[in-house]
Symmetry: C2
Subunit: 226 residues, 2 copies
DNA sequence: GAATATATTTGTACAAATTACACTATTTAA
DNA sequence: TTAAATAGTGTAATTTGTACAAATATATTC
């Protein structure tokens, strides 16, 4: 298909998850050029020649969201020669979990992109390349992680209620959980720090606020939720 | 470090596990050239321009072992610019599990390699590049897989005893398991087919032979062993 | 062929984790 | 003060995991 003298291009694409408006969403960019001009895609870009792959993924993330210090994990490397219509592009995909509050989406005026937007992960527009497959694979991985690691905290504000925490799990797992069992299990893990504060009159009865206790986490193993 | 005009090279390296002489081993090749001339390394090679990454990994595997149709899974992509002393080489690592009986190790006389050999994974020689890290990461992944998937069967002959199955788990997890609990758990999973045969006079009491029942597997979920 | 050595096979009691399930408490708004 | 909405709580049944010891079948040896 390609001449053997042609070289691979290597990119990284980052599936960025957040919870916004009560929905699990991913960040998509609208492509300014062919191929797939006008189609939505996961943000991505070429890996620079002296840059680690992790650094490239972080750079992509920062360009679009201005956030750093967030949960970022290498997902899988997609390299079907047919995934790009005109070149051999191998992409090392990552996923990230971020809090979307106080984030201003942006893109440099490099005319690669005409729009940046959050899209509900369960209701995606048609996507460029194999990006639908990459998002589906990410979601699967996030669910796997959720069972073992407290990554849900990456999506929540510093102080949160148990109901908010449960909602986060329900959105990612896409199923209802039992309130009493959820609370019992989390409190038994003792990775939550009960604060002296409550939500100020959101509506109805105020809820206790908790924060994530990183200290006890390291000694914890085993399942979170399935 | 590198000029931006320089291009990435993309390889795949395959960590091939087997059980041999009662030990968990990995396949290593001795490098014929610099860098790391004379050092042991994981078998690997460049991904061809019109080849999927999976196909490249399979090709590497077949070149060295002549086996096909085995368990092969993408592990992780290692891309530190410093991992190769003279070039920017991104490698997409895989791991494979194979039965080592009736396998003849081989290498084409391309003078890239001077030897191919199985090495105990818990007693490795000094390795080229970041290959030690890659093997450690593989082992971690195999252990994770072992908890959920019946991949141990990939290392066993078609017919095996429960003791052999347990030994396989113990070698990979590097710890002793309780015999009665191991059997109870596996038999409860009903992914084993009890055969009418026994081991013919290995020594002492003959053991019942079992085979792996693929049919019931698909309906199974959850933990295997931890 | 009897005794011995070696590996196979089997069950039970206890602890821990998971699941199912319904009512009371506190606040705001009418 | 009443109604509506969300927060918060406990127990019993089931399942799963863990710890642990004796009997059985064959080969070898005396």
């Amino acid at each position: 298909m390609f001449k053997e003298t042609k070289t691979h291009e290597v990119t990284t694409d980052v599936v960025i998850f957040t919870i916004k408006d009560g929905k699990l969403k991913v960040l998509l960019v609208k492509r300014a050029h062919e191929p797939f001009k006008g189609k939505w895609a996961i943000p991505g870009g070429f890996i620079r020649i002296s840059e680690t792959i992790d650094a490239a993924a972080l750079r992509i993330l920062k360009e679009k969201t201005n956030v750093q210090n967030i949960y970022l994990e290498q997902l899988y490397t997609f390299g079907d020669p047919l995934r790009h219509p005109t070149a051999r592009v191998i992409t090392c995909a990552y996923f990230a979990l971020i809090r979307s509050d106080d984030i201003v989406l942006s893109f440099e005026d490099n005319s690669e992109i005409t729009e940046v937007q959050w899209h509900p992960v369960y209701d995606l527009p048609p996507l460029a390349f194999d990006h639908k497959e990459i998002i589906e694979y990410s979601l699967k991985r996030v669910r796997e992680r959720l069972e073992f690691c407290p990554i849900a905290f990456q999506l929540l504000p510093e102080k949160f209620t148990l109901t908010e925490l449960q909602k986060t799990y329900e959105l990612i797992l896409d199923k209802k959980l039992d309130k009493r069992n959820f609370r019992k299990k989390f409190l038994a893990l003792s990775i939550l720090k009960e604060l002296d504060e409550c939500t100020k009159s959101g509506s109805k009865r105020p809820a206790r606020l908790y924060s994530f206790n990183e200290i006890t986490l390291n000694s914890k193993r085993g399942h979170f939720f399935s």
